[in-house]
């Protein structure tokens, strides 16, 4: 059998093997992270929905969310995404039965601005202007989402 010299480093383990191991470990940790993040929020959304609390709350927020062509319930998706992360946002959004246009608007807003608290800590490692950048993301996200909603909704 012929082998490329590059395939066998000094350690004896070929790089692809090592990569497979690394990504396997990362995937396992990631699945745990997902289960811990998604299941509780999915259940909480269901309870909010069943108890009628979500409908009551979204009644107040409907006029505001209407600016983005979104139903009032989308406020819960936005808060989950902005404060926690995108997985939390999907867990809240999935049971709502949104249209593809509404999902796209939410995806654009949250794609630009999400996990603001945690990610501001990372940005701070790069630059001292973490605050301005967080505000920039929020503004850009809401602005871009508004424009998109005008185009597609």
């Amino acid at each position: 059998m012929k082998t490329d010299a590059r395939d066998i480093p000094a350690g004896g383990v070929p790089p692809w093997r090592e990569a497979l191991g690394h990504s396997g470990r990362r995937t396992r940790a990631f699945v745990w992270f997902l289960l811990k993040n998604i299941l509780p929020l999915y259940l909480a959304t269901e309870i909010l929905k069943q108890s009628g609390l979500l409908a009551w709350l979204s009644g107040f927020l409907a006029p505001i969310m209407g600016l983005w062509g979104l139903p009032g319930e989308a406020a819960a998706v936005l808060s989950a995404g902005l404060l926690v992360n995108l997985y939390a946002a999907t867990a809240v959004a999935a049971p709502l039965g949104l249209s593809w246009q509404q999902v796209s608007v939410l995806g654009l807003i949250l794609g630009i601005a999400h996990s603001l608290v945690v990610e501001a800590a990372v940005v701070r490692e790069l630059t001292q202007r973490a605050w301005s950048i967080t505000l920039l993301r929020l503004g850009l996200g809401l602005g871009a989402g508004w424009l998109l909603s005008l185009i597609i909704i």
Binding site: P15, L39, Y42, T90, A93, S104, G111, R137
Partner: protein, 150 residues
């Protein structure tokens, strides 16, 4: 009462399905990244990329942190992002350019994919993000608004 238990059970199953779908999307991405890293894709200079970086106010040394953030995200890419930009001793204005670009546009594959699972359009989710990130960073670089110090 029974109905509530049933609907919670269904929610649990739906949640598990969502977890499974996201895993099916993200696991290959992680594997792809680890493979690319193992074979040194990020260490070799990429041809033709320097002029593009210069337009964004970045030097070639910023490529690895830029790619790490772009594909992996601020959190998962943070290790590479922060350590490489320190290693390369990127000047503060380049760090700010990096931060502005990546703040608007990171983890593009994963973020887009999980909203596509819910039925969103990749074009409308990713397109404007990319446009905004490139536009704002290039505009800042051109106007020299990124201050030399800080």
């Amino acid at each position: 009462m029974w109905e509530i238990v049933l609907s919670l059970g269904r929610a649990l199953i739906d949640g598990l399905i969502l977890c499974g779908e996201i895993t099916l999307v993200v696991a290959p991405l992680m594997l792809g990244y680890e493979m690319a890293k193992a074979y040194g894709v990020f260490e070799r200079p990429w041809p033709g990329v320097a002029p593009v970086l210069r337009r964004l106010g970045l030097s070639p040394g910023a490529l690895v942190p830029l790619l790490a953030g772009f594909f992996l995200g601020l959190l998962y890419g943070a290790g590479i992002l922060v350590s490489v930009s320190r290693e390369q001793a990127l000047p503060a204005r380049e760090c700010l350019a990096l931060a502005v670009f990546l703040a608007t546009c990171h983890a593009v594959v994963e973020d887009t994919a999980i909203f596509m699972l819910l039925g969103g359009s990749a074009f409308w989710i990713l397109g404007p993000r990319l446009l905004l990130a490139v536009g704002i960073t290039a505009w800042l670089a051109r106007r020299g608004r990124l201050p030399a110090s800080r």
